[in-house]
Amino acid sequence: MATQTNGSKKPMNLKLLVWRQKNGMSKGAMTTYEAKNVSPDMSFLEMLDVVNEDIIKSGGEPIAFEHDCREGICGSCGLMINGVAHGPDEGTTVCQLHMRSFKDGDTVVIEPWRARAFPVIKDLVVDRSAFDRIISAGGYISVNTGQAPDGNAIPIAKQSSEDAMDSAACIGCGACVAQCKNASAALFTSAKIAHLRLLPQGDPERAERALRMVAQMDEEGFGSCSNEGECEAVCPKEIGMVNISLMNREYERALISGKK
């Protein structure tokens, strides 16, 4: 909810409370920084860039944070800002969050995703390869090798392709896990299961996919889903909780049918 909009162009001064941790082995702590002369037009990551330059100039170690496209589509950036994943703006990633969402004099708390399955590598950077392992456990389809398949050989209903695309919009940023009180990866896993399930190409591995991906999600040490929908609220791609219900349906179906 972006209610605190700073309409003026006046530069702001902010107090940052940032999690600093040397590496995965060391113990981290919250450290205070001053962000001076922050333009409201800056993105959140640009603000961090400016703070880092000051830190480097004064001979310190810059704050490590992950980022790549800065267009809100890659899923690399992900920070807990003032206790909410990806900050206060709805349906965006941190890179698309702008400083106009903050007020002069605000204290901004910046933390990495917290989950056993997402160990901190350094400062605000966490290891999300647990997601990659969930994908590789079952997020694939069977395809014929050789020539490129005929474009429209498989008829797909418009609604199905739209629904599949809604689920496939997941960029794997991990905000769902970060926001969930149980650090559950149910929204991520279910979105991946749903996007393949909703298309005919995903049908051959349907039962096996549900069983394998859920098992992998378990093995990574994520929690269980309490159906609160906190994940849906912070998801930059606004993936719905109904995916979780679909995953559970698929899982039950696989269990009952006894298919592998």
Partner: protein
């Protein structure tokens, strides 16, 4: 690997949680229908109680419910352990995602599921003891061959399920009167009213959550599931709450609806347990 998966995953455990929870909700519907008869009339309620205790299948249902209840609790403990382990380092600052988007369905009810669950766990044994064992309503099975010190039912109507071995007038036990007497105590009524509020809070999140866990949620039905669950919760918890509330406030007195001709039998009901032997 596949052969080992099955129900021992977070999804499997949540499905078990949902199924056991929904089974208890089905029981609550029946329990409420039975209890509301007390508001209709004391005699009606006593008749229903007698009808129930005479069914041999009830003991099977009771054992089944106990198993479901325990499964639900054990499952909850296991899931909670996993959930706590899933985030070993807590956040410095944590706010509800709901502060950002109304797409979140988080409520205080969903946040306090563990606490309301613990409260219900404490309440249920008390409640069963209070109305089933402490006050000796059908403490011995009517058809067990033993001469029960008490029999559920209305004495004046000659209901006696323990056989012809004893005189009905001495064995009759007035459950409606007993419940009314207990609920006129503000302390007892208070416990029940509080427990029903906590049960309502638990169910407020539980119904839609359980339906989502079993996979019944769908974009088309999401609003229906959430609001249907909440309205259903108000009806069930509110229905149970009405009984102590109405009796305590004196708006309804089931004991009065029993015929004054039963006065003699009511005295029998107050005779301490065992005297009837």
């Amino acid at each position: 690997m596949i052969s080992k998966l099955r129900f021992n995953t977070v999804v499997g455990k949540k499905v078990l949680m949902a199924v056991t929870g929904l089974a208890m909700v089905v029981f609550l519907i029946g329990h409420l229908i039975g209890n509301l008869q007390l508001l209709w009339s004391g005699a009606q309620f006593n008749g229903y109680a007698h009808f129930l205790t005479a069914q041999p299948v009830v003991i099977l249902i009771e054992l089944g419910l106990l198993a479901i209840f325990l499964l639900h609790i054990v499952d909850a403990v296991v899931l909670l352990q996993g959930n706590y382990a899933a985030r070993p380092v807590p956040y410095h600052t944590k706010k509800w995602g709901r502060s950002k988007s109304k797409r979140s369905k988080k409520t205080w009810a969903s946040t306090m599921m563990m606490w309301t669950g613990i409260a219900i766990l404490l309440f249920v044994p008390f409640h069963v003891w209070h109305f089933k064992y402490h006050n000796p309503v059908a403490s011995a099975r009517p058809d067990s061959g033993q001469v029960s010190p008490v029999v559920v039912g209305v004495g004046s109507t000659g209901v006696n399920t323990s056989g012809a071995a004893s005189a009905p007038s001495k064995e009759a036990y007035d459950l409606a009167l007993q419940v009314t007497k207990e609920f006129k105590n503000p302390f007892v009524s208070g416990i029940y009213i509080l427990a029903m509020i906590l049960l309502g809070l638990h169910m407020y999140h539980a119904i839609s959550s359980a339906l989502t866990s079993v996979g019944a949620n769908h974009p088309r039905y999401q609003t229906l599931i959430i609001w249907g669950g909440r309205i259903f919760t108000v009806v069930i918890a509110g229905g149970f709450l009405l009984i102590p509330a109405l009796i305590l406030s004196g708006l309804i007195d089931p004991a009065k609806t029993l015929a004054t001709a039963q006065a003699a039998n009511n005295q029998v009901a107050q005779v301490p347990m065992g005297v009837g032997k």
